[in-house]
Amino acid sequence: MNTETNLGWANVIDRVRDWARQNSIWAVHFNSGSCNGCDIETLATLTPRYDVERFGIKLQGSPRHADVLLVTGPVTRQARERLIRTYEQMPEPKFVISIGSCSIAGGVFQDCYNCVGSVDQVVPVDVYVPGCPPRPEAIIDGIVQLLTELRGGKARQPKHVTAQEIPS
């Protein structure tokens, strides 16, 4: 096979992968000190009324099986390193959705002594879903935005994988 056809095949396989990925997002949920409001709404998104499983989205117990990390909460100091470890255990390509006001900027817990402040200070975030807590519709919208980007080939773009060091 010459190089051109090789490239052609690689392209086809990439597109098949993209297609498959868009239709089977597996997510792992990490609570980094949230008040439970967002966690409950995240879970409600998976149950019959909203039922995101019809888009192939499934909540997974292990980060090693997951494509998407759903993070809620203002990231407490005790949860910070566990969040980094969970993120690093996920296989490439991986995406992070930060759910709720506190995960975006600390929310009501701003300036609390035990909070780092936001998820994007610890791991790179792809989609932000604001709200305290966001409605399930908003969470679905966040996921749809991610899917739209995946359709545009986001998963094939190189991105840095290490968790950022938090500025102290």
Partner: protein, 558 residues
């Protein structure tokens, strides 16, 4: 016995060590004792079966006063007696442990030590429970002179080091569970030592969701705190803000109008339905019964709709205001709620049948984690976990507050004390709540929704106790007469119920642990600034004043 009789009985019991008697509230007597006499005084109350230890509040009275104070709150029905121990404000102060007399005190004492730096002598040494592992030694966040820069992470000390794992000897292993684990929906860390399949020891580490709310409350004003405390827990947010409101209203000597109180009870009832249905789903999920999980969460959406219709929000409803409530119930809403309740009652009856007859579910719940009434009393259990063992611990019945005097509920109890009984208690309790809500809707008092509250709250102390879905919620509110509280102490019911898991897991199979955890309905967590995300790398935070101006502009131009 009336409140006065109970209080005078307590005073009599404590007379030998009494240095000073205070009457901060009508239903409360405080007895000042010295640290050496603490154990004797506690034993005296316990021997006479005078109530139970509800919470231990630690306070820093300020740098000038040079004093710390520890308050041991004992509750007996509506009567509260607090033992006040005053300590000098230095770094090497200690107080005797009472955890051998009262096991749940161990966790309260841990909090006292970590937050205020009071060494507990005679307590079993344990690692940090609330603060992160990289927190510096000798820095205590609840001290008055604490600043955030004192708490810089200690280099080289890892937050959350990998737990000891692997073979301890023979067939004995340590199995770490959490904070990220399929069997846990919330962050906590447990280490179970197992011999083969049997758990031989259990240990826990909290603090993954410790945000420092009590400290933050001291720098925010009375109204801002309402929204902060609502976010202690997103599941029982209404009871948190209601307890805070009741405490502050007591201090201001304002009573919410009858209509407001009835609406508060109504929202609390709806919240209980949502919380227990949520719990039923999670418990069923842990038992591997996902069908029940999906069904109960589907039905839970009915009550979420009702909450949204009444308050405008699905979670964190902000129905409460200091001095009243924000939302009224119109005739159409009352009608919609009644219809929703009709449907929910049918479904709850159905679930009651499922949890008592389904053979698969019963094999995971019947005779598992059984707690006798005596044990429940000794462990200091609260809420449905205690009531499943036949112990009547229900603040709505024992110490009637708010509109529960007009629209009373009865305490539901079971006698078996196993996981099945806890399912049954929670579901039957919902039927009681539904009945009460219907009565409220039929007899909603007329009148205003709010009473006028002063901006500055008069100096004083108040204890507010409320029955949250998981048990008694305890708020201690102290004001120095300013625009911000001097101290707010929160003791959530889950903290008291942990003992039921840690004690009962020992001797059981590891496979039962998720169900035991789910059985007590753990809740680990137990104003805003707007963020404009420009792109992934840059975001801009708006200050409160800018947000306010933006809001005014927006409505002007609309």
């Amino acid at each position: 016995m009336s409140i006065e009789e109970r209080l005078s009985q307590a005073e009599k019991l404590l007379a030998p060590w009494n240095k000073e008697t205070l009457h901060p509230e009508s239903n409360r007597v405080d007895v000042v004792i010295s640290g050496e006499d603490l154990r004797l005084a506690v034993a005296a109350l316990q021997d006479a079966h005078w109530g139970y230890l509800s919470a231990i509040t630690g306070m820093d009275l300020g740098v000038e006063s040079g004093q710390l104070e520890a308050l041991y709150h004992f509750c007996n029905g509506p009567a509260v007696t607090s033992l006040r121990v005053r300590l000098p404000r230095s770094n090497d102060i200690s107080i005797a442990s009472i955890s051998d007399l009262i096991p749940p005190a161990a966790l309260f004492e841990r909090e006292l030590h970590e937050m205020l730096g009071i060494t507990i002598t005679g307590a079993a040494l344990s690692d940090r429970l609330f603060l992160p592992d990289d927190w510096p030694d000798d820095v205590y966040p609840m001290r008055a002179n604490f600043t955030t820069d004192q708490a810089a992470p200690v280099q080289g000390r890892h937050a959350d080091e990998a737990p000891e794992q692997g073979v301890v000897g023979g067939n004995t292993f340590v199995i770490p569970i959490g904070p990220q684990h399929p069997a846990l929906k919330e962050p906590g860390h447990f280490e179970f030592t197992v011999d083969g399949e049997i758990v031989t020891a259990a240990r826990m580490r909290l603090g993954y969701a410790h945000r420092g709310i009590e400290k933050a409350a001291e720098s925010r004003n009375w109204y801002q705190n309402l929204y902060l405390f609502e976010r202690v827990c997103g599941i029982c947010s209404h009871t948190h803000s209601m307890a805070y409101c009741l405490g502050v209203e007591k201090l201001a000597q304002v009573e919410a109008p009858p209509r407001a109180q009835a609406i508060r009870e109504l929202v609390a009832g709806l919240e209980r339905v949502h919380s227990h249905l949520l719990w039923l789903g999670v418990a069923a999920h842990e038992a591997g019964f996902d069908t029940l999980f999906m069904y109960s969460w589907r039905d839970r959406e009915t009550v979420m709709n009702l909450l949204e219709q009444v308050t405008g929000n699905r979670v964190n409803y902000s129905a409460n205001l200091l001095g009243g409530v924000k939302c009224d119930i119109t005739l159409e809403q009352a009608h919609a709620i009644k219809e929703g309740l009709n449907y929910l009652e049918t479904r709850i009856r159905h679930y009651l049948e499922v949890v008592t007859t389904d053979a698969m579910f019963l094999s995971r719940t019947r005779n598992i984690g059984t707690i006798t009434k005596e044990e429940a009393e000794r462990f200091g259990l609260l809420g449905p976990t205690a009531r499943a063992s036949g112990l009547v611990r229900d603040v709505r019945v024992e110490a009637v507050y708010g509109s529960y005097k007009n629209f009373p509920v009865s305490a539901v109890t079971e006698t078996n004390g196993d996981l099945e009984a806890r399912c049954v208690v929670r579901l039957k309790e919902l039927l009681v709540s539904c009945f009460a809500m219907r009565t409220i809707l039929d007899n909603l008092p007329e009148g205003p929704l709010t009473a006028r509250m002063p901006r500055k709250i008069p100096a004083g102390e108040a204890v507010a106790r409320i029955e949250a879905p998981r048990g008694e919620l305890f708020y201690f509110v102290k004001s120095n007469g300013g625009e911000t509280p001097a101290r707010v102490h929160v003791r959530t019911p889950s903290l008291c119920n942990w003992v039921s898991v840690l004690e009962k897991a020992v001797g059981r199979q590891l496979a039962d642990v998720p169900m035991l955890l789910a059985g007590m309905d753990p809740c680990f967590s137990c104003n805003d600034r707007l963020v404009t995300v420009a792109n992934n790398d840059q975001h801009e935070t708006w200050s409160w004043s800018r947000l306010r101006e933006y809001g005014i502009e927006y409505y002007k131009n609309r």
